[in-house]
C-alpha cells in the first residue's frame, strides 16, 4: 500500500558479521515514526546517518498487514491528532506526500440512554450539534474554548524531555511563569482533579457529560474517577491535525501515510535506512557512546546514537544496567502497566445501502458507555478482567478514502478501551476482548455482528513482538505526572554523552507525535555543532 516506486529494495543483511563500519556521524535505532523523524533531522543537517530497524519494513508498530485475504489494514493507529506541526513543517512532510483524506473528522457519539449526537467538526463546534438544551450547548462551548486556550498555552509542557535542551526549558519556564494567577490555578486544578470532578462541576448528568467522560478516559490508564485523570485530555487537545487544534484527521491511505512520507523525507535527507538489523547492544566507552553492535555481529561506530525503541530495551538491554544510574533503573523497572487499548479490524460482509449509514461511515464513530460503566470498566481492567462495556472509536477507511474501497466488503478499524494489559494474552483473553468490543459496537450498530467475516485483534504484546520491543511500552500511558517523570528520566539518557532517547516513554500522550524525535535530534545536533560529541 502506497509504497513509493522509487524506494530501493532493502538489501539483505545490514552489516557483515564481525566487520566494523566507521565514518558514520549518527546512528538511529528503531524504525518507527520517531526513529525515521530523528534520522531525517540528522540527515538533513548534513550528518552521515544510519537508521537501523529490527523489522523488514520501516514503520515500527504502524504497519500494513493482511487482515483477511485481499483486505489490508493498518496496525498501530488509525487517526492523526498529535503529529507535531513543527515536524510536519520542518521535514516537509506535505511535500513528501502526506495528505489527508479527511480533515477535521466529524464525530457521531452513541449512547445507551440518549439519542446519538452528531458533531460537525470537533468537540469545540458545539454550535453544530443537534441538542435540545441550549444551556448545555453553551456550557460545552464555553468549556471547550477554555480548554483549547489552556491546552495551547500548555503545549510547551507537553513537549517531551523539556529540560534536555536549555532553550526549551527556558521557554517553558517563561511561558508558565507568565501565567496569570487564574490560569495557574486552573492548571493546578486540571492537573490534580479527577475527570469526574471537573465534569460534574460543569455539566449535569446527560449526553455531554457522558461523552466527555469517555473522551477523557479513552486511551488513558488513569481511571476517570481518580486524581490526575483530567490532564491527558488537555494533552490531546493541545495537538493539531491538518492545522486545526484539537481536531483529528484521517491521512490518505491511513496512518501508514505518515510512515511513507517520513521514509521519503529520510531518503531525501540521505539517511541510510537498514532494515532487518536488530541491535544487540549499544557500545559505551567511558562516559560516552561509541556506536552499536548488531545481532549479526557487525559493529557500527558513531559519536551519536539516538534510540527510538522502548526504554527498557534501550537502557536495560542494549546499554545494560551497569552503565546507567540506579534512579533510572528504578524508574524503568517499577513500571507495572495495568491498562491497554485494543486495536481491532473487522471485515464486514456486504456494503451498507441506506444513506444514513453511509453518511455515518464517513465520520468518526464514538461509543460512550454510561459513566458508571466506564468507571466499572477501569476497575475490571485493572483487576485483570475484561470489562463488559468498552469505549469504542471506529472509522471506516474505505468510506474516508476512495482508494481503500473494497469490493462487496467493508473494513472497520476500531480502538476499544480499557482492556487489561497482558504481555502475553492467551486465546481465552483474546476471545473475551473481541466479544466485549463487538458487544459495545452492537450498542450503536445493531446487527453488525451478523456481517462480521473476520475479527482481527492487536494487543500491545502483538505490536511489541512485531518490532522486538517490551510490551509494556505500548500499554496505556500512566498518569500525567508519571509520564512527565519518565520522559524526564529517560531524556537524561543515563548521563551518557552522545546518547539520546526518543522512544515511546519520551512522549507525553498517546498517538503519533514525533515531538520526542525532534527534541532528541535537536539536542544531538546542538551538541554536534558545539563539538561536544
Amino acid at each position: 500500500m502506497n509504497k513509493p516506486a522509487d524506494m530501493p529494495e532493502d538489501e539483505e543483511g545490514a552489516t557483515v558479521a564481525g566487520r566494523i563500519e566507521g565514518g558514520i556521524d549518527a546512528i538511529v535505532i528503531g524504525d518507527g515514526v520517531d526513529g525515521l523523524a530523528a534520522a531525517t533531522y540528522l540527515g538533513k543537517a548534513g550528518l552521515h546517518t544510519i537508521l537501523v530497524g529490527a523489522g523488514k519494513e520501516p514503520g515500527g508498530r504502524i504497519a500494513v498487514r493482511e487482515i483477511a485475504p485481499g483486505v489490508e489494514g493498518v496496525d498501530g493507529e488509525h487517526l492523526v491528532g498529535l503529529l507535531d506541526p513543527e515536524v510536519i513543517a520542518e521535514l516537509d512532510l506535505y511535500r513528501h506526500g502526506l495528505e489527508y483524506a479527511a480533515r477535521r473528522l466529524d464525530t457521531t457519539y452513541f449512547f445507551d440512554a440518549y439519542d446519538a449526537l452528531r458533531f460537525d467538526g470537533d468537540l469545540s463546534q458545539a454550535a453544530n450539534i443537534a441538542l435540545d438544551d441550549d444551556e448545555e450547548r453553551d456550557a460545552l462551548e464555553a468549556f471547550m474554548a477554555e480548554l483549547l486556550e489552556l491546552s495551547a498555552f500548555l503545549r510547551p509542557a507537553f513537549r517531551p524531555a523539556v529540560y534536555a535542551s536549555g532553550d526549551t526549558q527556558k521557554m517553558l519556564g517563561k511561558t508558565l511563569a507568565g501565567a496569570s494567577s487564574e490560569t495557574a490555578s486552573l492548571i493546578r486544578r486540571y492537573l490534580i482533579a479527577s475527570a469526574g470532578d471537573v465534569l460534574s462541576a460543569r455539566f449535569a448528568d446527560g449526553p455531554l457529560k457522558t461523552l466527555l467522560y469517555s473522551e477523557v478516559a479513552f486511551r488513558s490508564a488513569s481511571a476517570p474517577n481518580e486524581s490526575l485523570s483530567f490532564m491527558p485530555f488537555l494533552r490531546r487537545l493541545s495537538g493539531e491535525a491538518a492545522g486545526l487544534q484539537g481536531a483529528v484527521a484521517y491521512p490518505a491511505g491511513g496512518a501508514i501515510a505518515v510512515v511513507t512520507a517520513l521514509r521519503r523525507a529520510a531518503q531525501g535527507a540521505k539517511v541510510d535506512v537498514r532494515a532487518s538489523a536488530p541491535v544487540k547492544s549499544i557500545l559505551i566507552e567511558g562516559d560516552r557512546v561509541a556506536g552499536v553492535m548488531l545481532e549479526d555481529g557487525g559493529q557500527l561506530r558513531a559519536p551519536i546514537v539516538v534510540a527510538a525503541t522502548d526504554a527498557s530495551s534501550a537502557f536495560l538491554k542494549m546499554i545494560g544496567p551497569a552503565n546507567i544510574d540506579i534512579e533510572l533503573q528504578r524508574v524503568l523497572t517499577t513500571q507495572r502497566p495495568e491498562i491497554a487499548t485494543a486495536r481491532l479490524h473487522f471485515v464486514l460482509k456486504g456494503v451498507a445501502q441506506d444513506e444514513t449509514t453511509r453518511a455515518n461511515m464517513k465520520r468518526r464513530l464514538f461509543y460512550a458507555p454510561p459513566v458508571e460503566d466506564v468507571t466499572a470498566a477501569f476497575l475490571d481492567a485493572r483487576a485483570g478482567r475484561v470489562p463488559e462495556k468498552l469505549i469504542v472509536e471506529a472509522v471506516f477507511p474505505g468510506a474516508l478514502d476512495d482508494k481503500l474501497l473494497l469490493d462487496r466488503r467493508q473494513l472497520m478499524s476500531v480502538m476499544a478501551h480499557p482492556v487489561p494489559f497482558d504481555a502475553t494474552p492467551d486465546d481465552a483473553r483474546r476471545e473475551a476482548i473481541k466479544n466485549a468490543a463487538l458487544a459495545s459496537i452492537e450498542m450503536f450498530a445493531t446487527g453488525l455482528s451478523e456481517r462480521v467475516e473476520t475479527v482481527d485483534l492487536r494487543l500491545p504484546g502483538d505490536e511489541a513482538a512485531a518490532v522486538g520491543a517490551n510490551a509494556g511500552a505500548y500499554a496505556a500511558k500512566p498518569d500525567i505526572l508519571r509520564q512527565w517523570a519518565i520522559a524526564a528520566a529517560t531524556a537524561a539518557s543515563g548521563g551518557i554523552n552522545g546518547f539520546y532517547f526518543c522512544g515511546p516513554e519520551a512522549q507525553i500522550g498517546s498517538g503519533m507525535s514525533c515531538s520526542a524525535a525532534r527534541s532528541a535530534a535537536r539536542a544531538a545536533l546542538r551538541a554536534y555543532r558545539k563539538g561536544h560529541v
Binding site: 529540560y163 492548571i187 490534580i192 479527577s194 474517577n225 481518580e226 458508571e372 512527565w484 517523570a485
Partner: protein, 445 residues
C-alpha cells in the same frame, strides 16, 4: 448581634477550634460558629496531635490540658498474628523484628522517604496553593527531573512506594489500612501515596485525653475565648454573597455578621454546614465516600486482642479488602469486608469508623441517597467486623449510635462563593488547618 470579622470558622471539632484560636492570636478578628449544639462528644476517642507551633501559639501550657499519644497502631487480621507499629521508627523496627517480619530493617528508610516527600514544601505549594508565583512553581517542577520524579511518586499509588521497600504482605496491608482508611482510598489509586506520606508526618500521630482529664474540646473552647474569638451557635439561614470583599452571614433569626472568609478546617465540618466539599484531592476521593462512625456502649469492658486500649485498631482480612471495599464504594455498593478502624474511649466504649462506604447507592441504573435501612446494614457490617475479632463483643453491646457523614452534593448557600475555604481530609488535621488559615491571612494582606 452583629459583627465584622476576617474569619468565620465553622465546625464542631478540634481542628476548627485550633484554627480559630490561632488566627485570633495572630491578630485576625475571628468568629467561631458551632452548628450542632447537642453534639458534645467528638466522633473519635483520639484526635490528631497538637503540634508544637500550635501549642506555643495558643499558650496551651497555661491550661489544664493533658494529652497522651495513642500507644500503637494495630491491625487485626483474619488469621495469624496482628501487626503493630509505633510512633517511633526504632520502636517499630524492633517490634517488627520480634514478630519475624524481615522488612524491619528498612522501616526507618521508608519513614525517611515518606517524611521527605511530605515535607517537600514547594511541591505542595506548587500544586495546592494559589499565589502570584504559582506559574513559576509549575515551570520549576516540570523542568527539574528530580522534583518531577518526587512529585510523580508523591501523587502516585501508594502501592508503588510500599513495594519499593517491603516484601511482607501483612506489613503492606497494615500500613495501607491505617494510612488510607481516613479517606477510604485504595493503595492502587493515584494520589494514595500522598495520604500515605502524610500519615507518617509527626503531627499525624493521634493523641488521646486520658481518663478524668479535661476534655480537649472544652480546653480549646476556653482557649478560643481567651484569644478573643467571638463565639456563635446556631444554623446559617442566609449567605449574602454580593461579590464584594465581605460576605454577609445570617445565623438563626438574630445574628447577622460580615466576614472576609468562611473557613472549614475539615470536610466533615463543611458537609455538616451544607457547604460543598473541595474537589477530590489526591488520594482523598472524598466525593465518592461516606464516612460512618458507630459508638458502641458496652455492658462490660472487653480487652483488646493485642496492644492495649490506648491503641488504634484496624480490621482487615488482607490487602484485597482495602481495594475491594474502595472499588465497591466507587460503584455505589456496600462491601461486607470493608476495613474498620476502632478505638477505646477512656470510659471503655468502642468507637468504630470506616470511610469505605459509598456516598450514594447505585441501584437499577440510578443513584439514590442513604436510607435508614442502609444505615442499619452499614452498622451491622461494622458490628460483625468487630465481633469477628473481639469474642463476646456482640453480646456485650448495650447501645450503638450510628452517624453517617456523606459529602454534600446538593445546592447550598455556599454555591458560587469563592471566599469559602475548605481544608480537605488530613491525617494531620490540626497542623494543616492552622497552616492553611495562616496562609490565607498572609495571602490577603
Amino acid at each position: 448581634m452583629s459583627g465584622q470579622y476576617d474569619f468565620l470558622v465553622i465546625g464542631d471539632d478540634e481542628a476548627s477550634l485550633c484554627a480559630a484560636a490561632a488566627a485570633a492570636r495572630a491578630g485576625a478578628s475571628t468568629a467561631h460558629l458551632r452548628i450542632n449544639q447537642r453534639k458534645k462528644q467528638s466522633g473519635a476517642a483520639t484526635t490528631p496531635a497538637i503540634p508544637n507551633f500550635v501549642w506555643r501559639r495558643l499558650e496551651l501550657q497555661d491550661y489544664d490540658l493533658t494529652l497522651e499519644p495513642a500507644s500503637a497502631r494495630v491491625t487485626l487480621f483474619k488469621d495469624g498474628d496482628p501487626v503493630i507499629t509505633y510512633a517511633k521508627p526504632r520502636e517499630t523496627s524492633a517490634a517488627l523484628e520480634e514478630t519475624g517480619i524481615d522488612d524491619h530493617f528498612v522501616w526507618s528508610d521508608f519513614i525517611e522517604e515518606t517524611n521527605g516527600l511530605a515535607a517537600n514544601g514547594y511541591l505542595a505549594s506548587t500544586l495546592f496553593n494559589a499565589g502570584k508565583d504559582s506559574g513559576k512553581g509549575i515551570a520549576k517542577m516540570l523542568t527539574d527531573p528530580v522534583a518531577l520524579e518526587r512529585t510523580a511518586r508523591l501523587f502516585g499509588p501508594s502501592a508503588d512506594l510500599l513495594n519499593d521497600y517491603f516484601t511482607d504482605e501483612r506489613l503492606k496491608a497494615h500500613v495501607s489500612a491505617h494510612a488510607l482508611g481516613l479517606a477510604g482510598a485504595s493503595d492502587r489509586e493515584a494520589g494514595s501515596a500522598a495520604a500515605l506520606s502524610e500519615f507518617f508526618d509527626e503531627d499525624s500521630w493521634r493523641a488521646r485525653t486520658p481518663k478524668d482529664a479535661t476534655n480537649l474540646m472544652t480546653v480549646l473552647e476556653i482557649a478560643c475565648q481567651d484569644a478573643g474569638v467571638k463565639s456563635y451557635a446556631g444554623k446559617i439561614t442566609e449567605i449574602a454573597n454580593d461579590g464584594a470583599k465581605q460576605i454577609g452571614v445570617s445565623i438563626g433569626a438574630e445574628d447577622k455578621i460580615r466576614t472576609s472568609y468562611i473557613f472549614f478546617a475539615t470536610p466533615e465540618a463543611a458537609a455538616a454546614a451544607g457547604a460543598l466539599q473541595g474537589d477530590g484531592r489526591p488520594g482523598l476521593n472524598n466525593t465518592a465516600h461516606a464516612s460512618i462512625t458507630v459508638r458502641f456502649k458496652l455492658s462490660n469492658r472487653i480487652e483488646p486482642p493485642a496492644g492495649d486500649d490506648k491503641a488504634i485498631f484496624q480490621i482487615i482480612d488482607d490487602l484485597e479488602d482495602v481495594r475491594d471495599a474502595r472499588d465497591a464504594a466507587v460503584r455505589g455498593k456496600l462491601h461486607e469486608r470493608a476495613p474498620v478502624e476502632f478505638e477505646y474511649t477512656p470510659n471503655g466504649e468502642i468507637v468504630a469508623r470506616t470511610a469505605y462506604f459509598p456516598a450514594a447507592f447505585f441501584e437499577d441504573g440510578a443513584w439514590r441517597g442513604w436510607t435508614g435501612q442502609d444505615r442499619q446494614a452499614a452498622a451491622a457490617i461494622i458490628k460483625n467486623r468487630i465481633a469477628s475479632r473481639l469474642p463476646d463483643f456482640a453480646s456485650q453491646i448495650r447501645r450503638a449510635e450510628t452517624e453517617v457523614m456523606t459529602p454534600n452534593t446538593r445546592e447550598s448557600f455556599f454555591e458560587g462563593c469563592d471566599r469559602v475555604i475548605v481544608q480537605w481530609r488530613r491525617h494531620n488535621a490540626i497542623s494543616a488547618a492552622v497552616k492553611l488559615i495562616d496562609e490565607v491571612m498572609a495571602r490577603s494582606e
